[in-house]
Protein backbone atom coordinates (compact mmCIF):
# COMPACT_ATOMS: atom_id res chain seq x y z
CA UNK A 1 0.00 0.00 0.00
CA UNK A 2 1.38 3.39 -0.98
CA UNK A 3 1.77 6.16 1.53
CA UNK A 4 0.09 9.56 1.51
CA UNK A 5 2.06 12.62 2.71
CA UNK A 6 0.36 14.00 5.84
CA UNK A 7 0.59 17.59 4.59
CA UNK A 8 -1.67 16.76 1.65
CA UNK A 9 -4.41 15.63 4.01
CA UNK A 10 -3.97 18.73 6.18
CA UNK A 11 -3.92 20.97 3.08
CA UNK A 12 -7.21 19.41 1.95
CA UNK A 13 -8.69 20.12 5.40
CA UNK A 14 -7.39 23.70 5.27
CA UNK A 15 -8.79 24.34 1.79
CA UNK A 16 -12.21 22.99 2.77
CA UNK A 17 -12.15 25.09 5.95
CA UNK A 18 -11.27 28.25 4.01
CA UNK A 19 -14.05 27.59 1.49
CA UNK A 20 -16.53 27.18 4.33
CA UNK A 21 -15.26 30.44 5.85
CA UNK A 22 -15.80 32.25 2.54
CA UNK A 23 -19.35 30.89 2.48
CA UNK A 24 -20.06 32.07 6.04
CA UNK A 25 -18.65 35.54 5.33
CA UNK A 26 -20.22 36.19 1.94
CA UNK A 27 -23.68 34.61 1.87
CA UNK A 28 -26.70 36.51 3.19
CA UNK A 29 -29.15 33.60 3.11
CA UNK A 30 -29.07 32.06 6.58
CA UNK A 31 -29.54 28.50 5.27
CA UNK A 32 -26.35 28.92 3.19
CA UNK A 33 -24.54 30.21 6.28
CA UNK A 34 -25.57 27.09 8.21
CA UNK A 35 -24.46 24.85 5.33
CA UNK A 36 -21.06 26.59 5.22
CA UNK A 37 -20.72 26.04 8.97
CA UNK A 38 -21.27 22.33 8.29
CA UNK A 39 -18.43 22.43 5.74
CA UNK A 40 -16.13 24.05 8.32
CA UNK A 41 -17.00 21.49 11.04
CA UNK A 42 -16.44 18.69 8.56
CA UNK A 43 -13.03 20.11 7.59
CA UNK A 44 -11.91 20.24 11.22
CA UNK A 45 -13.05 16.64 11.63
CA UNK A 46 -11.01 15.72 8.55
CA UNK A 47 -7.91 17.23 10.20
CA UNK A 48 -8.53 15.05 13.28
CA UNK A 49 -8.88 11.90 11.17
CA UNK A 50 -5.70 12.73 9.20
CA UNK A 51 -3.79 13.13 12.47
CA UNK A 52 -5.20 9.86 13.80
CA UNK A 53 -4.15 8.09 10.59
CA UNK A 54 -0.64 9.55 11.00
CA UNK A 55 -0.17 8.00 14.43
CA UNK A 56 -2.20 4.87 13.73
CA UNK A 57 -4.36 5.55 16.79
CA UNK A 58 -8.15 5.73 17.05
CA UNK A 59 -8.28 8.87 19.26
CA UNK A 60 -8.76 11.21 16.31
CA UNK A 61 -11.68 9.12 15.10
CA UNK A 62 -13.29 9.41 18.56
CA UNK A 63 -12.89 13.21 18.29
CA UNK A 64 -14.57 13.06 14.88
CA UNK A 65 -17.54 11.28 16.49
CA UNK A 66 -17.77 14.11 19.03
CA UNK A 67 -17.73 16.68 16.18
CA UNK A 68 -20.46 14.68 14.42
CA UNK A 69 -22.62 14.80 17.56
CA UNK A 70 -21.99 18.53 17.92
CA UNK A 71 -22.90 19.13 14.27
CA UNK A 72 -26.15 17.18 14.59
CA UNK A 73 -27.24 19.09 17.70
CA UNK A 74 -26.19 22.42 16.16
CA UNK A 75 -28.11 21.78 12.94
CA UNK A 76 -31.27 20.79 14.82
CA UNK A 77 -31.24 23.97 16.92
CA UNK A 78 -30.17 26.17 13.99
CA UNK A 79 -32.91 24.89 11.70
CA UNK A 80 -35.48 25.43 14.47
CA UNK A 81 -34.31 29.03 14.74
CA UNK A 82 -34.48 29.44 10.94
CA UNK A 83 -38.11 28.22 10.95
CA UNK A 84 -38.99 30.74 13.67
CA UNK A 85 -37.18 33.51 11.78
CA UNK A 86 -39.05 32.70 8.58
CA UNK A 87 -42.39 32.78 10.44
CA UNK A 88 -41.64 36.14 11.99
CA UNK A 89 -39.91 38.01 9.14
CA UNK A 90 -41.01 36.05 6.01
CA UNK A 91 -37.45 36.08 4.70
CA UNK A 92 -34.12 34.26 5.15
CA UNK A 93 -31.98 37.41 4.79
CA UNK A 94 -29.77 37.70 7.88
CA UNK A 95 -29.72 41.51 7.61
CA UNK A 96 -33.28 41.73 8.99
CA UNK A 97 -31.92 40.37 12.28
CA UNK A 98 -30.03 43.62 12.93
CA UNK A 99 -32.99 45.29 14.67
CA UNK A 100 -31.37 44.94 18.09
CA UNK A 101 -28.50 47.28 17.22
CA UNK A 102 -28.61 50.38 19.33
Amino acid sequence: MQSIPIEHGLILAGVLFALGLVGVLTRRNIVFVLMSLEVMLNASGLAFVVASARWGHADGQVMFLMILTLAAAEVAVGLGLIIQMYRKFKTVDIDVLSEMKG
Binding site: M1, Q2, S3, I4, P5, I6, E7, G9, L10, L12, G14, L16, A18, L19, G20, L21, V22, G23, L25, T26, R27, N29, V31, F32, M35, E38, V39, N42, L46, V49, V50, S52, A53, R54, G56, H57, A58, Q61, V62, F64, L65, M66, L68, T69, L70, A71, A72, A73, V75, A76, V77, L79, G80, L81, I82, I83, Q84, R87, V92, D93
Partner: protein, 160 residues
Protein backbone atom coordinates in the same frame (compact mmCIF):
# COMPACT_ATOMS: atom_id res chain seq x y z
CA UNK B 1 -5.42 4.07 -1.97
CA UNK B 2 -3.25 7.03 -2.90
CA UNK B 3 -5.14 7.57 -6.19
CA UNK B 4 -8.43 7.26 -4.29
CA UNK B 5 -7.32 9.97 -1.85
CA UNK B 6 -6.37 12.50 -4.54
CA UNK B 7 -9.44 11.94 -6.73
CA UNK B 8 -11.83 12.14 -3.76
CA UNK B 9 -10.03 15.21 -2.43
CA UNK B 10 -10.39 16.98 -5.78
CA UNK B 11 -14.09 16.10 -5.94
CA UNK B 12 -14.55 17.40 -2.37
CA UNK B 13 -12.92 20.75 -3.13
CA UNK B 14 -14.77 21.26 -6.45
CA UNK B 15 -18.17 20.38 -4.96
CA UNK B 16 -17.55 22.62 -1.94
CA UNK B 17 -16.87 25.49 -4.35
CA UNK B 18 -20.21 24.51 -5.90
CA UNK B 19 -21.88 24.90 -2.49
CA UNK B 20 -20.69 28.45 -1.91
CA UNK B 21 -21.33 29.82 -5.42
CA UNK B 22 -24.75 28.26 -6.14
CA UNK B 23 -27.80 30.51 -6.07
CA UNK B 24 -30.34 27.68 -6.13
CA UNK B 25 -30.43 26.31 -2.60
CA UNK B 26 -31.45 22.75 -3.49
CA UNK B 27 -28.57 22.50 -5.99
CA UNK B 28 -26.21 23.78 -3.28
CA UNK B 29 -27.50 21.09 -0.94
CA UNK B 30 -26.88 18.37 -3.53
CA UNK B 31 -23.33 19.70 -3.97
CA UNK B 32 -22.89 19.58 -0.19
CA UNK B 33 -24.00 15.93 -0.12
CA UNK B 34 -21.47 15.18 -2.89
CA UNK B 35 -18.77 16.96 -0.91
CA UNK B 36 -19.54 14.98 2.25
CA UNK B 37 -19.54 11.68 0.35
CA UNK B 38 -16.17 12.60 -1.20
CA UNK B 39 -14.79 13.32 2.29
CA UNK B 40 -16.14 9.90 3.34
CA UNK B 41 -14.06 8.33 0.54
CA UNK B 42 -11.03 10.32 1.80
CA UNK B 43 -11.60 8.83 5.28
CA UNK B 44 -11.78 5.37 3.76
CA UNK B 45 -8.52 5.90 1.88
CA UNK B 46 -6.86 7.09 5.12
CA UNK B 47 -7.74 3.76 6.75
CA UNK B 48 -10.73 4.89 8.84
CA UNK B 49 -13.66 2.84 7.49
CA UNK B 50 -15.89 3.26 10.58
CA UNK B 51 -15.73 7.05 10.39
CA UNK B 52 -16.30 6.90 6.61
CA UNK B 53 -19.50 4.91 7.12
CA UNK B 54 -20.69 7.28 9.86
CA UNK B 55 -19.97 10.28 7.62
CA UNK B 56 -22.11 8.77 4.86
CA UNK B 57 -24.96 7.71 7.17
CA UNK B 58 -25.18 10.60 9.64
CA UNK B 59 -23.80 13.61 7.74
CA UNK B 60 -24.85 12.86 4.16
CA UNK B 61 -27.91 10.93 5.25
CA UNK B 62 -29.55 12.29 8.40
CA UNK B 63 -28.33 15.89 8.67
CA UNK B 64 -28.74 16.67 4.96
CA UNK B 65 -32.27 15.21 4.97
CA UNK B 66 -33.03 17.58 7.87
CA UNK B 67 -31.78 20.47 5.72
CA UNK B 68 -33.84 19.32 2.75
CA UNK B 69 -36.93 19.02 4.96
CA UNK B 70 -36.57 22.59 6.20
CA UNK B 71 -35.86 23.95 2.70
CA UNK B 72 -39.02 22.28 1.40
CA UNK B 73 -40.96 23.58 4.42
CA UNK B 74 -39.83 27.17 3.87
CA UNK B 75 -40.87 26.81 0.21
CA UNK B 76 -38.47 29.42 -1.16
CA UNK B 77 -39.27 29.84 -4.84
CA UNK B 78 -37.84 31.63 -7.85
CA UNK B 79 -37.75 35.02 -6.10
CA UNK B 80 -35.20 33.69 -3.59
CA UNK B 81 -32.96 32.54 -6.45
CA UNK B 82 -33.18 35.99 -8.09
CA UNK B 83 -32.49 37.64 -4.73
CA UNK B 84 -29.43 35.41 -4.26
CA UNK B 85 -28.11 36.46 -7.67
CA UNK B 86 -28.37 40.15 -6.79
CA UNK B 87 -26.61 39.51 -3.46
CA UNK B 88 -23.65 37.82 -5.14
CA UNK B 89 -22.08 41.00 -6.55
CA UNK B 90 -18.30 40.84 -6.86
CA UNK B 91 -17.72 43.81 -4.55
CA UNK B 92 -19.51 42.01 -1.74
CA UNK B 93 -17.53 38.80 -1.79
CA UNK B 94 -14.11 40.01 -2.95
CA UNK B 95 -12.90 41.29 0.44
CA UNK B 96 -14.02 38.29 2.57
CA UNK B 97 -12.67 35.89 -0.04
CA UNK B 98 -9.34 37.76 -0.06
CA UNK B 99 -9.10 37.59 3.74
CA UNK B 100 -9.91 33.87 3.72
CA UNK B 101 -7.26 33.38 1.01
CA UNK B 102 -4.68 35.12 3.25
CA UNK B 103 -5.67 32.79 6.11
CA UNK B 104 -5.31 29.77 3.82
CA UNK B 105 -1.90 30.99 2.61
CA UNK B 106 -0.75 31.22 6.24
CA UNK B 107 -2.00 27.69 6.89
CA UNK B 108 -0.07 26.42 3.86
CA UNK B 109 3.03 28.33 5.05
CA UNK B 110 2.85 26.61 8.43
CA UNK B 111 2.47 23.22 6.74
CA UNK B 112 5.38 23.73 4.29
CA UNK B 113 8.03 21.67 6.12
CA UNK B 114 5.93 18.72 7.26
CA UNK B 115 7.69 15.71 5.79
CA UNK B 116 5.79 12.80 7.30
CA UNK B 117 4.11 10.07 5.27
CA UNK B 118 0.94 8.32 6.34
CA UNK B 119 0.96 4.60 5.70
CA UNK B 120 -2.76 3.92 5.93
CA UNK B 121 -3.18 0.76 7.93
CA UNK B 122 -6.75 0.20 8.88
CA UNK B 123 -7.94 1.36 12.32
CA UNK B 124 -11.38 -0.16 12.43
CA UNK B 125 -14.49 -0.42 14.58
CA UNK B 126 -12.80 -2.53 17.26
CA UNK B 127 -10.14 0.03 18.18
CA UNK B 128 -12.55 2.98 18.05
CA UNK B 129 -15.18 1.31 20.21
CA UNK B 130 -12.57 0.07 22.69
CA UNK B 131 -11.60 3.72 23.20
CA UNK B 132 -15.21 4.98 23.18
CA UNK B 133 -16.30 2.62 25.94
CA UNK B 134 -12.96 2.76 27.76
CA UNK B 135 -11.26 6.10 28.47
CA UNK B 136 -13.84 8.21 26.61
CA UNK B 137 -17.00 6.79 28.18
CA UNK B 138 -17.76 10.06 29.98
CA UNK B 139 -17.56 11.93 26.66
CA UNK B 140 -20.08 9.48 25.17
CA UNK B 141 -22.48 10.13 28.05
CA UNK B 142 -22.05 13.89 27.66
CA UNK B 143 -22.65 13.57 23.90
CA UNK B 144 -25.93 11.75 24.59
CA UNK B 145 -26.99 14.55 26.96
CA UNK B 146 -26.02 17.12 24.29
CA UNK B 147 -28.18 15.32 21.72
CA UNK B 148 -31.09 15.17 24.16
CA UNK B 149 -30.75 18.90 24.87
CA UNK B 150 -30.61 19.58 21.12
CA UNK B 151 -33.75 17.50 20.58
CA UNK B 152 -35.72 19.28 23.32
CA UNK B 153 -34.61 22.77 22.28
CA UNK B 154 -35.26 22.09 18.57
CA UNK B 155 -38.79 20.97 19.47
CA UNK B 156 -39.32 24.03 21.62
CA UNK B 157 -37.90 26.48 19.06
CA UNK B 158 -39.75 25.11 16.05
CA UNK B 159 -43.22 24.80 17.56
CA UNK B 160 -45.69 27.58 16.95
Amino acid sequence: MMILFYIAGTVAVVSTVGVIVQSNIVHALIYLILSLLAVAVVFFSLGAPFVAVLEAIIYAGAIMVLFLFVIMMLNMGQHTIDQEKTWMAAKDWALPAGLAAILLAQLLYVLRDFQVDIVPNEVGVLEVSALLFGPYVLAVELASILLLAGLVSAYHLAKK
